[in-house]
């Protein structure tokens, strides 16, 4: 191994703030966020890209952060669950999730919400079927998905209202 495998300073923009820490290039983005930057909101479920618990936004696109290297996130804008609420005001998805009991243990929730943020941006008026397909890459073992779908329909309506549609 050479310099190219050595730890180096990795600097990434997360939720609007620039963060730096030293890590080897093999460190995954989710591990870098959680352990090097102590940003704990993003969670690890499977480390092989199936469960979706680690989903974050990279330049607005939902991505499995267990399948990205931290070094790959340099010069990109990363958004995690921490970016959804503004102070005391929750994002409509967060409000709807709470209202409709769309979370139980909460472990899949960070990834589920980030997936839905991109989805609702692209599809502001989804059908129930479209929502189910959109979250087909996010496993939840607790809720059975029904309330997540209900909450998403509610949040979508609220977002449309807020944008005057």
């Amino acid at each position: 191994m050479s310099e190219a495998s050595d730890p180096r300073i990795i600097s990434i923009n997360v939720d609007g703030k620039q963060h730096s820490a030293t890590a080897e290039p093999r460190v995954t983005l989710v591990d870098f966020l959680r352990h090097n930057l102590q940003l704990l909101g993003t969670r690890v479920g499977c480390e092989h890209g199936v469960c979706g618990a680690c989903t974050i936004l990279v330049d607005g696109s939902a991505v499995r952060s267990c399948l990205m290297l931290a070094v790959q996130a340099e010069n990109k804008n990363i958004h995690t669950i921490a970016s959804l609420a503004t102070g005391d005001t929750l994002h409509p998805l967060q409000t709807a999730f709470t209202k409709h009991h769309a979370l139980q243990c909460g472990y899949c929730t960070s990834g589920m919400l980030m997936t839905l943020v991109e989805f609702l941006h692209d599809v502001p008026d989804p059908t129930e079927e479209e929502i189910r397909e959109a979250i087909s890459g996010n496993l939840c073992r607790c809720t059975g998905y029904q309330n997540i779908v209900k909450a998403t329909l509610d949040a979508a309506a609220e977002l449309r209202r807020a944008q005057g549609k």
């Binding site: 080897e24 093999r26 460190v27 959680r34 352990h35 102590q38 704990l40 909101g41 993003t42 969670r43 690890v44 479920g45 499977c46 480390e47 092989h48 199936v50 469960c51 618990a53 995690t80 669950i81 921490a82 959804l84 609420a85 929750l90 967060q94 999730f97 709470t98 209202k99 009991h101 979370l103 139980q104 243990c105 909460g106 472990y107 899949c108 929730t109 960070s110 079927e129 929502i131 189910r132 397909e133 979250i135 087909s136 890459g137 996010n138 496993l139 939840c140 073992r141 607790c142 809720t143 059975g144 998905y145 029904q146 309330n147 997540i148 779908v149």
Partner: protein, 788 residues
């Protein structure tokens, strides 16, 4: 009079504000100063003898602090094996897991060595540098083959693979069946699979050398039992160890036992004097966490010409795995739950539990009840087929009628007393399910669908779940001098909204809002006794303990306030945290009352009451309370490819008194989807050498959102007569009847083919094969008369 304000209401959950922001604190979020990370070297083979372990390469790797084998950990361990979780005098000795294997390895995934390193990346690098030589031994893969005389032995030092056998019986099933006018036989292979919470297991052990206390955080369903195990294994007393439970990302049974890893991590921390964290990864969950696995059933039912059951007898073989963590609870539950909500006058099931070279088995959500229910539902469908009767009618004729409730079944529970169905109306629940699912209109829908080449089916099933397993759960309700109302309990939170439930119960007594109540679960320094979260027990046990404790505290609050305000107690009410006479100005806060009961040096207790404002109750229960569920599902099968699409699912569930309708409904959703998983998707595949091969979540399939139809949950409340609140547990209710309904529906969709499904999960490939075999039989004129 206490005005009920919160019980029965869908109040927002206390757990949500933190979780929704990503501010939950799960075990991997814990970071202790100086913390090291651990990884386990696990056996790559299902059976063998360890010849040598060379760790020199691993120890030389920079960043590695220790590489432990069992010999090293013995310095702090009092035994090589875990204690059995449910002590038994019928099971053979020495069947529980080793902390680390040192001679024989008995399943793929059995831990052999523990690496402690600067981080998990380095720890895994070190694993690759440990050289273990294992001489392979023939493995035992199938639990039925395990009982054949020619089978290899799962453990070299045992005479055979039979762990235990027992007979569950009452009446005279042999007589009843042989003498019955009609008989059907059913052979089943039931497979359930793993728990797979989205958060895997994990533990942080931090031995404080200065204060000589071991602090342990475990993602667990049983903190107090974990403390007991750790004390026993490490030779510590209650003052030297504190177990705490962070937020738990689901358990589903996999976190309801203490594992070798938790003990090893704590041992490592003692030896190193450093905090050690171990987080199970998903691959480890496949090979190191308990599973429910295979059961073979061969049963026969005798019945009369009306389709009424006269007796059931047969045999069941249950896979116990390589090591026993708990006991025979899984097989036992399955065998006692065959009658379910039906009248079964005679019963005999011979149960054998065998050891295999796979990871140990223990209850996953449902805990054996789904298997017993499925067996009964298959029998009832077979009876319907045999007599050309409607499946719903057969069930109606056999259900325990409402007039017979409370119904003492002939079956004895573990405690030896008879199982009693305390409340409910089973036929009414079934009728409601059928009505909501529009069973009456189904044949017309089926015909219409056939015109466009679609094959619809309707499935029906009912099941019963006992809940509230005793003997008790602990709860202390305390009002502190700060005015903060707290509930401390040995009950465990794992996503089910337990804290909200207990807060609602408490709030009703103490006149404050649930959100202002702090509920602490699973911290052994706050309460000394506890049993934990399993068997759908906590609302019944901890709920009632909390209720009774809150009532006691309320009484004391009123008595103290009466004294302090000089107002008769019957005139006082608690509203918004203040006690006073309604309509009058004078009031006193809960905090002030607590303060008054804290004592001032030199002064007698003012109110004449004993010091402190708290109450501890361990509500005891010896009998389970029973809630019935009726399921009706409409689905579509494509016989060309064997695909199954669920279209509409109706559940009627007796939940007893409902504390929070939203969380109760959520439990039913979750339990049902797990049951759907077990019916159609979840298969933990092993080859003939007991090598697991479904080792990723892309191969071990759990349902995702598109596979789930709309679920229409109808909660009915038949209050339990077994506890003051009248509650029943619902955590597993949705799971129990699911397989029966789905399989019934698939057979119904393909009734023209006359297929009979004898296994779960049922895959499209298998459905295709059954359809094909049936078509070939028809062509050859071999198929017997089809019945609708």
């Amino acid at each position: 009079m206490v005005e009920k304000k919160y019980i029965g209401k869908p109040i927002p959950r206390l757990e949500d504000p933190a979780l929704i922001r990503g501010d939950g604190r799960f075990v991997d979020d814990i970071h202790r100063y100086g913390q090291l990370d651990a990884a386990f070297l696990r056996s790559p083979v299902a059976h063998g003898m360890i010849r040598s372990i060379d760790r020199s390469g691993a120890l030389a790797l920079p960043g590695v602090y220790a590489v432990y084998t069992l010999a090293d950990l013995r310095e702090v361990l009092t035994a090589d094996r875990l204690p059995l979780q449910f002590p038994s005098d019928v099971l053979p000795p020495n069947i529980s897991p080793f902390i680390l294997a040192s001679s024989e390895v008995a399943h793929v995934g059995e831990p052999i060595a523990l690496v402690v390193a600067e981080n998990r990346y380095i720890a895994e690098d070190a694993l690759a540098l440990i050289d273990v030589e294992i001489d392979p031994l023939p493995p035992v893969s199938d639990c039925r083959d395990a009982l054949a005389p020619s089978s290899p032995k799962a453990h070299v030092d045992r005479p055979g693979n039979l762990l235990i056998d027992f007979v569950q019986e009452y009446g005279d099933a042999d007589l009843a069946v042989t003498g019955a006018p009609h008989r059907v036989k059913v052979s089943l292979k039931q497979h359930r699979g793993g728990a797979h919470p989205i958060e895997c297991r994990g533990s942080v052990a931090d031995y404080d050398r200065d204060m000589r206390v071991l602090h342990v955080w475990i993602s667990s369903q049983l903190a107090h039992e974990a403390r007991f195990f750790l004390m026993k294994m490490l030779g510590l007393d209650e003052n030297q160890i504190r177990v705490m439970t962070p937020d738990v990302g689901g358990g589903f049974g996999s976190k309801f036992t203490v594992y070798p890893e938790e003990v090893a991590i704590s041992a490592a921390s003692l030896l190193l004097g450093r905090p050690v964290k171990w987080i199970e990864d998903r691959r480890e969950h496949f090979i190191g966490s308990i599973q429910e696995r295979d059961q073979y059933w061969d049963i026969e039912a005798g019945f009369d010409k009306e389709g009424k059951l006269l007796g059931i007898r047969g045999e069941m073989i249950s896979d116990g795995g390589a090591y026993t963590y708990q006991g025979i609870n899984l097989a036992y539950n399955a065998s006692t739950n065959v009658p379910g909500p039906y009248v079964l006058p005679n019963y005999k099931l011979k149960v054998s539990v065998s050891e295999t070279n796979k990871v140990g088995t223990a209850p996953v959500r449902g805990a054996g009840y789904p298997e017993g229910c499925f067996a009964m539902e298959r029998i009832l469908d077979a009876i319907a087929r045999h007599l050309s009767l409607d499946r719903a009618e057969v069930r109606r004729r056999n259900l325990v009628p409402a007039s017979a409730i409370p119904y003492e079944t002939p079956m004895a529970a573990r405690s030896k007393s008879k199982i009693v169905y305390d409340s409910g109306d089973f036929p009414a629940c079934l009728a409601l399910a059928l009505q909501k699912a529009d069973y009456a209109g189904f044949e017309a829908r089926r015909e219409k669908a056939r015109l466009s080449g679609k094959w619809l089916g309707f499935g029906i099933s009912t099941g019963i779940k006992g809940s509230g397993r005793g003997p008790f759960e602990s709860a202390t309700v305390r009002i502190g001098r700060s005015g903060r109302v707290s509930v401390y309990t040995g009950a465990m939170a794992m996503g089910q909204g337990l804290k909200t439930t207990l807060a609602q119960i408490t709030a009703d007594q103490l006149g404050i809002e649930p959100k202002d109540i702090t509920v602490i679960c699973g911290d052994t320094s706050t309460i000394q006794l506890g049993l934990g979260g399993f068997a759908s027990r906590q609302t019944v046990t901890a709920g009632n303990s909390t209720h009774l404790a809150a009532k006691e505290v309320r009484a004391k609050v009123i008595a103290a306030a009466a004294n302090l305000l000089d107002v008769p107690s019957e005139k006082l009410e608690i509203q918004d945290g203040r006690v006073g006479e309604p309509g009058k100005n004078r009031s006193i806060s809960l905090g002030e009352i607590a303060d008054s009961l804290a004592g001032a040096p030199g002064y007698k207790m003012a109110s004449g009451l004993p010091p402190g404002l708290d109450a501890a109750v361990n509500f005891e229960t010896s009998a389970l309370t029973y809630g019935m569920g009726a399921h009706a599902v409409e689905l579509e099968v494509d016989p060309r490819i064997g695909s199954v699409k669920l279209l509409n699912y109706v559940v009627v569930n007796d939940c007893g008194t409902v504390i929070n309708p939203q969380t109760v409904e959520g439990q039913i959703h979750g339990g049902l989807v797990h049951g759907i998983g077990n019916s159609l998707f979840e298969w933990m595949g092993y080859d003939d050498n007991a090598q697991p091969f479904t080792m990723t979540l892309a191969e071990y399939l759990m349902p995702t959102a598109p596979e789930i139809p709309h679920i229409d949950v109808n909660i009915v409340e038949y209050p339990s007569s077994k506890n003051p609140l009248g509650v029943k547990g619902v955590g597993e209710s949705g799971t129990v009847p699911a397989a029966g309904a789905i399989v019934s529906g698939i057979e119904d969709a393909l009734r023209e083919y006359g297929i009979v499904i004898e296994e779960i999960p049922i895959s499209p490939a298998r459905i295709f094969a059954l359809v094909k075999a049936s078509s070939e039989n028809t062509k050859a004129g071999l198929r017997s008369t089809a019945t609708a």
